[in-house]
Amino acid sequence: MADEKIRFEAVSKRYGSLTVLDQLDLSIGAGEVVSIIGPSGSGKTTVLRCLMTLEPVDDGVIWIDGIPLNKELRSGALIEASPAHLRRMRTKLGMVFQNFNLFPHMTILQNCSEPPVYALGAKPTEARSRAVDLLKMVGMESKQDHYPAQLSGGQQQRAAIARTLAMQPEILVFDEPTSALDPETIGEVTEVIRALATKHSYTMLLVTHQIDFARDISDRICFFDKGRIVEQGPPDAVIDSPKETRTQQFLRKVAKAR
């Protein structure tokens, strides 16, 4: 494995009495593509949300490039991260949401070109030309002056991916990127994600229900249940010959639904 990019160290997350993440340990190498699968309520989305600092972590430390994310090193001790520290750390991270979360009052091009100006201090002209390039890459250049509501789900998700890439993150996080899509537009989005996984050096963490797609693009599959990793390993091992009964049950159910 290449250098370690992300490490979850005994990370716990509770909502009241419900433990969503239970002492999670997970290490992801630079450039590695990891898919998380598992039943709903298993905590897989919470992993992503904690990494994106959308949810505070109750216990444990998340490290990125050897730097604590949810904590800050001050005079030798780890203390709760300040908003400024979180902001700094988030520049390495980019997230693609299940429901796209594009800004509905802005065109696709504005969606992709304005955040880098505000958040990174990019020059408007440069941000714009970069956004145009990225929209070309996801096959959306002809729609750049459309508003999100004028586009299909697949088109919106491709635009949302371009918006995330415009921030020049090193780590890409996908939260069920195809779950809100019509079946016929899933393919165009998975193609874009596949290209990102194979042609670029992003470290990718993906939560998905599309087992075949996960197998195709991932270096590693993690099967989650009840806030823990039950089984992980290369796609062939986890999906084709799972060792744990819980994994076998889940994959049987998913196979039946397909």
Binding site: R90, L93, M95, F103, P115, Y118, A149, Q150
Partner: protein, 241 residues
């Protein structure tokens, strides 16, 4: 049984006669009413603009992370929403001078009306900001949007679209509230009507015209609100191209 045409003429002639009897003297009081109308408009438009600004400031203040700001915004809303506009006007014009602060009638009217409307507007803005979907805030976090940009460019534009119908309502209320400014000695269109009634005794005509004037002004506000609503919403309607 169809009524004979000649029988139809009788009520028409009666209504026509009534119209002339009643409205032949419009010219005697209309100029005074129009003078009052300019005062009403001079009070209403700046008050509305100030009220919108207060609404946004206090509405965001109620959602602030700073407890002191939250408390002050909340106290403002409760006080100015809970006290009669007429009493607020009396306070600004008659009570403040007791503490050494004398306001002109115009300034007192403008402040009283906008502070009163702004208290309602703050609640409208607060509700609208909270109605912007959670995912929009989360997108702002993951894109590292700085706080004020998040509000000025992402949250407020969407919140204002949500708030337009309620703000239209508030503006119409504000407009009608200007009828109270005679309490601070301004002669607005209502005060002018009352005064003309005492001079000319054209009671029916004067108050009919007065009602019509308020109705028409409200329609202008309503129309402007509807225009804004469709203008804002043109990008949000689904419809694939």
């Amino acid at each position: 049984m169809t009524p004979r045409p000649t029988a139809m003429l009788i009520p028409i002639a009666f209504l026509g006669g009534l119209y002339f009897a009643v409205f032949s003297n419009v010219a005697s009081f209309l100029p005074a009413l129009l003078n009052g109308l300019t005062v009403t408009i001079q009070v209403a438009i700046p008050s509305a603009i100030l009220a919108y600004a207060i609404s946004v400031a206090a509405g965001l203040g109620r959602l602030s992370r700073n407890a002191a700001v939250r408390l002050m915004s909340g106290a403002y809303v409760e006080i100015f929403r809970g006290v009669s506009l007429l009493v607020i006007l009396f306070w600004l014009f008659f009570v403040l001078p007791e503490f050494g602060l004398t306001l002109s009638p115009y300034v007192a009217a403008l402040l009283g009306i906008s502070l009163n409307a702004g208290a309602y507007g703050a609640e409208i803005i607060r509700g609208a900001v909270q109605a912007v979907p959670r995912g929009q805030y989360e997108a702002c976090v993951t894109l590292n949007m700085p706080g004020w940009r998040k509000y000025s460019r992402i949250i407020l534009p969407q919140a204002l679209i949500i708030a337009v119908p309620a703000l239209t309502n508030m503006t119409i209320e504000l407009l009608k509230g200007t009828a109270l400014v005679s309490a601070v000695t301004l002669v607005d269109v209502t005060a002018a009507g009352v005064r003309q009634n005492q001079l000319t005794y054209r009671t029916i005509e004067i108050f009919s015209v007065l009602a019509l004037i308020y109705f028409c002004l409200s329609q202008v506000v309503r129309f402007a609100g509807a225009l804004l609503e469709t203008g804002f919403n043109r990008h949000l309607r689904t419809g694939r191209s």
